[in-house]
């Protein structure tokens, strides 16, 4: 066994951080543990705002501190695409490292414990890059898929919205939530396959919209804070979200700027074309598995094409047709 695997085993046994936070992350309960409560709050922001839940955690994320300086992080030659440490294969661990920045995310699947550490303080959105990787690993281990899509639900049913940036996913989600739908996500969603059906789980509890608002006359969702780095307003959607409860996906709507003004049936191959590559670039690693799961997803749903709509009423009409 290699040095890094030994070091990770030791941390798994010895690390016993004091402070804890619990978050809902996809369809599972994540326990965050560390020595610094402020640090945990920063990371929980990156994972997504969500209400704390008391159930037994399905994964534990331990945040390590200065001890990372003792880690035998491999040189560049041992790191493959996406920063994956190749030499850990067969040790029970998987890990991503950033050699230059001294960042590490490691996951021990058998015990469902993840270790995360950074020698240089990072902005939350940078932490979220590793958080996203963890979410992706967990979903894949569970046979699920993290998909590049927005979604809203009502009465246990969900509509998924896919499309490139600027296609209108966030606008449709914002207008639908303003009309009473449940927020499931504007850009990322975990789905699980159950028989012939698909259950969807919200992941991140924030909605990101690039100002100025399209359709400003929709119901307001409260105050947003502006993130200048990404040029978007961030809305806390905790009051509108259902992050720990699944909704049964029934429809997938592919949005595009030049699409039809009415819901138009979309071939599932076309839906896969819109969803597969886009999801693979949002959630790297396991490309073949992700692509196959995207195929399974579109085969399970009614697929539609839709262009950008002019009014809140038009959005409401589509919502009623699909969820009514």
């Amino acid at each position: 066994m290699n040095d890094l695997a030994h070091w990770l085993d030791h941390q798994l046994q010895e690390s016993a951080p004091e402070a804890t936070l619990s978050r809902s992350f996809g369809g599972r309960n994540v326990l965050l543990r560390g020595d610094d409560f402020e640090e945990l709050q920063q990371i929980s922001w990156a994972l997504g705002e969500a209400s704390a839940i008391a159930r037994k955690p399905s994964v534990e994320l331990r945040v390590l501190g200065e001890v990372l300086r003792t880690a035998p992080i491999p040189d560049e030659n041992a790191v493959g695409p996406y920063g994956v440490v190749l030499t850990l294969e067969g040790t029970g661990w998987r890990a991503c490292v950033d050699v230059d920045e001294g960042r590490l995310l490691a996951y021990h699947a058998a015990s469902r414990v993840a270790l995360s550490a950074a020698l240089i303080p990072e902005a939350p959105r940078h932490r979220s890059e590793f958080g996203r990787t963890l979410l992706h690993w967990l979903a894949t281990d569970d046979g699920n898929l993290v998909v590049h899509a927005g979604a809203v639900g009502r009465a246990g049913k969900a509509i998924l919205f896919i499309g490139p940036g600027g296609a209108g996913k966030s606008t449709f989600v914002r207008v639908a939530v303003g009309a009473g739908a449940t927020f499931l996500g504007d850009n990322a969603l975990e789905v699980s396959f159950e028989g012939d059906g698909v259950a969807t789980w919200g992941v991140y509890g924030s909605l990101k919209v690039r100002p100025p608002l399209v359709l400003p006359d929709a119901v307001a969702l409260g105050n947003a804070r502006h993130d200048a780095d990404i040029g978007k307003d961030l809305y806390d959607m905790a009051a509108y979200a259902s992050l720990g409860e699944p909704h049964a996906a029934c429809s997938l709507v592919a949005l595009s700027a030049d699409g039809p003004r009415e819901l138009t049936p979309l071939g599932r191959g076309a839906a896969l074309f819109a969803l597969g590559p886009s999801t693979m670039v949002q959630f790297p690693l396991y490309g073949p598995e992700v692509f196959a799961a995207c195929g399974q997803l579109v085969r399970s749903l009614d697929c539609w094409s839709l262009g950008q709509l002019d009014t809140v009423e038009d959005h409401g009409r589509i919502l009623e047709r699909l969820l009514g």
């Binding site: 790191v79 695409p81 996406y82 920063g83 991503c96 490292v97 950033d98 050699v99 230059d100 960042r103 959105r125 940078h126 979220s128 890059e129 996203r132 780095d229 990404i230 071939g267 599932r268 191959g269 076309a270 896969l272 074309f273 597969g276 590559p277 886009s278 693979m280 670039v281 949002q282 790297p284 490309g287 073949p288 692509f291 196959a292 195929g295 579109v298 085969r299």
Partner: protein, 131 residues
């Protein structure tokens, strides 16, 4: 040119649903779309059918050169490789139409980059530097 082909797996992944195929080359980040007659011919090719077998099953007239050019385009994108077996393949009747490989390279910088070391330092994954 080889007689029979197969998908260049695992470097290339592909799926065909409702008469439309999507293929992604994980090494280049190029992704491709095949529709209509192109998808039917694609399916026959990756099952190992020869050009002759595909021509013989066409339900209407087809220019053999258009099929050959199509096969060449698939090979140039490294989507197909030579198949070792020589077993004949039964090809369902198909309606000839324009044979076209629609190729997209807009994600190659993303599908091909290392999201830890090769991303925009301010915006993070999935933004490539200077994207």
């Amino acid at each position: 040119m080889p007689e029979r082909y197969e998908l260049s797996a695992p470097e290339v992944i592909a799926d065909l649903i409702d008469g439309e195929a999507v293929a992604i080359d994980l090494t280049t980040g190029h992704y491709h779309r095949l529709r209509g007659a192109s998808a039917e011919v694609w399916e026959a090719l990756i099952r190992g059918a020869t050009e002759e077998e595909i021509l013989a099953s066409a339900a209407g007239p087809i220019d053999p050169k258009s099929l050959s050019d199509f096969v060449v385009s698939l090979c140039e994108e490294s989507l197909l490789r030579e198949r070792s077996s020589i077993d004949p393949v039964a090809v369902p009747a198909w309606e000839p139409g324009m044979l076209e490989l629609e190729s997209f390279v807009d994600l190659e910088d993303i599908l091909g980059i290392d999201p830890i070391h090769e991303v925009d330092p301010d915006r993070g994954w999935p933004h490539a530097p200077d994207a």
